[in-house]
């Protein structure tokens, strides 16, 4: 029984990582209808930044804001060129552009950071294990759950309860009307991309203590984040959280029960969810036009 409790905590920490990454991707996807396949690269970049930051001896707790800022800066540059001119284009073109960019980033990161698996030099405070019902559980993962959960809560508050969030939500629903109210939606889009990229980087920084950082992680995370967003339903905060939890638990427990074909099983379950709910778990009710 306690074994399953530990696995549940494992699943929860993985879900929180998926949630942070998925929320970033979801923001861009529902806000601008822009499919950003470089999101996995932001995640991996954040991981490398955190590892090198702590490895260089800088204060460890600043590593996470640093990952956010650096990934966000990359997002800002990309928003200027070439994302900006692709917002009105078809999904096919967006997919090809951002896929190409993600391949370029993957190669550049392999060049710059090396092809070896690197793990986060965990700070003294977060090292070691706690005993959950007699079984050891890494403190770092508890840190992921708590800080990631707090962050998601803050994000929810910002989007759901502040004027800034209201402007972003309004853009999702009807950009034209927001424009007539005198708001610069292009600038709101830029802010959205930067925050999304930053969240990706932050997720990667947190995740590097659990998943490590290695070439290829970007692609794995991208696939999972895409699934989280799509299964959750576009433009729905609650849906993204729900599907992150679902995917986190499905992945973790299929690894426990069927290690060899774990990914096959979890992909299959998520595909089945999409077959039953073709527009995701939470669908915004829209007037058919």
């Amino acid at each position: 029984m306690s074994y399953y409790l530990v696995q549940t905590l494992n699943a929860l920490s993985f879900s929180v990582l998926l949630m942070l990454t998925g929320l970033g991707l979801s923001l861009v996807l529902s806000l601008m209808n822009f499919v950003n396949l470089t999101h996995g690269s932001f995640f991996l970049l954040g991981g490398y930044v955190a590892i090198h930051w702590i490895g260089a001896g800088a204060p460890w707790w600043l590593a996470f804001p640093a990952a956010f800022v650096i990934a966000g800066a990359v997002g800002l540059v990309l928003d200027r060129f070439p994302f900006g001119r692709f917002y009105p284009r078809t999904h096919l073109m967006q997919v090809l552009l951002t896929y190409g960019l993600s391949v370029i980033f993957a190669d550049l990161m392999r060049w710059g950071f090396g092809a070896d698996t690197m793990s986060l030099p965990t700070p003294e405070l977060l090292r070691g294990v706690v005993f959950v019902a007699g079984l050891p559980f890494p403190i770092y993962r508890l840190f992921i759950i708590v800080s990631g959960g707090a962050l998601a809560l803050a994000l929810w508050y910002a989007i759901d309860r502040t004027l800034w969030g209201a402007a972003i939500r309004a853009c999702v629903i009807d950009r034209g009307i927001v424009e007539t109210l005198g708001l610069n939606t292009r600038r709101i889009f830029t802010v959205g991309v930067v925050i999304a990229a930053g969240l990706g980087g932050l997720g990667g920084a947190l995740g590097s203590g659990m998943l490590s950082a290695y070439p290829g992680l970007d692609e794995e995370v991208l696939l999972l984040a895409l699934l989280v967003v799509v299964v959750g339903g576009l433009g729905s905060f609650g849906g993204t959280v729900l599907s992150a939890l679902l995917l986190g638990f499905v992945t973790t427990f299929s690894r426990v029960w069927l290690p060899e074909f774990a990914n096959f099983l979890s992909l299959g379950i998520m595909a089945a969810v999409l077959v039953i709910w073709p527009s995701g778990l939470v669908v915004r009710k829209m007037r058919p036009v």
Partner: protein, 325 residues
């Protein structure tokens, strides 16, 4: 879902571009035969087979607006099935084709059925997920597929007692498959069901209201594309006597799509031109630098920024301008 297809006035240009592309493909297809050295024949066979897969994908993307990110799984699953079957049953050409076509139709049919109610981004991700499930099988099911190492050492292609393992024979087989595949795809596009598919692409709700069975049309398109890609995929392992999990991975699916875009979405010959350009650059660049993946990424970015309508369309534009002067 729109795929950036041309409006009606562009169609004449598109047709002309298509004709020029056909001439270009024919000239290029003859080149390895004339030069006759083993490397270019083998490389030519690879281009023809992958080009056929791109053409079948073009049936889905250009004809039906169905952007599938899992088409490499269809192509690769046929290759794996053929290679595995060759190990126990022998590599007879008709048998290999039959198995490849069946495997291709099976995977494509599953994709078609699973995505029946999906559209847009959901369609894209769902095809990606199904494709990655095939990759997981190819990568993890070590006893059958060889896992990360892939499959080697299966028998060489033969027809009766005639051995088809020389570069020339492989090239001719590939050319035959490309030709028959092209005929099948073209006749499908021109048949009423192909026209109905275009209708489903542009106006799914109206087509439904007119009494067309939208789902059945989509699944049929998937099955035809799967059969063509499967036939090409069945021969693919025999070109280099090797098939690995990369041929099923979604990065290969993305490569197939970019080849379709390089050639020109909707142009059936364009797929061959796209495959030629992409594979040529990949082979050339990887021969003198380790950073070839960077170059692959640059090909994607440059294509969508500079030439989103593809070679076939570009040729057509040149042709029309030239004609007026």
């Amino acid at each position: 879902m729109s795929t950036g297809l041309p409006a009606a006035p562009l169609l004449a240009k598109r047709r002309l571009g298509d004709k020029i592309a056909l001439a270009l493909v024919l000239v290029l297809a003859l080149a390895p035969l004339i030069s006759g050295d083993g490397f270019s024949l083998r490389f030519g066979a690879e281009i023809l087979l992958i080009g056929t897969a791109v053409m079948s994908l073009n049936l889905l993307i250009g004809g039906g607006g169905l952007v599938s990110l899992g088409h490499a799984a269809v192509f690769g699953a046929a290759g794996y099935s053929a290679a595995v079957a060759a190990g126990s049953l022998g590599a007879q050409l008709p048998l290999m084709l039959l198995i490849g076509i069946a495997a291709g139709m099976l995977i494509a049919g599953i994709m078609g059925l699973v995505t029946l109610r999906s559209s847009g981004l959901f369609f894209l991700v769902l095809t990606l997920v199904v494709g990655q499930m095939v990759w997981e099988l190819a990568f993890r099911w070590r006893e059958v597929t060889g896992g990360a190492d892939g499959l080697r050492g299966f028998p060489k292609l033969a027809l009766g007692s005639l051995r088809l393992d020389t570069p020339l024979a492989l090239y001719l087989v590939a050319a035959g498959i490309a030709l028959i595949g092209w005929m099948v795809t073209r006749s499908f596009q021109q048949a009423p069901i192909g026209q109905a598919l275009a209708g489903v692409r542009d106006q799914p709700i109206r087509m439904g209201a007119l009494g067309y069975q939208v789902g059945r049309i989509r699944v049929t398109a998937f099955l035809v594309a799967g059969a063509v890609a499967g036939a090409a995929g069945a021969i693919y392992p025999f070109v280099n006597q090797y098939i690995g999990p990369n041929s099923v991975h979604w990065s290969m699916s993305a490569a197939l799509i970019i080849m379709a875009v390089i050639g020109g979405v909707g142009s059936l010959y364009g797929g061959y031109l796209g495959a030629l350009v992409y594979l040529f650059v990949q082979t050339e660049v990887s021969s003198y630098t380790d950073r070839w993946q960077l170059v692959i990424g640059l090909i994607f970015v440059a294509t969508v920024i500079l030439m989103p309508n593809g070679i076939a369309h570009w040729l057509g534009q040149r042709g029309v301008r030239g004609g007026r002067v």
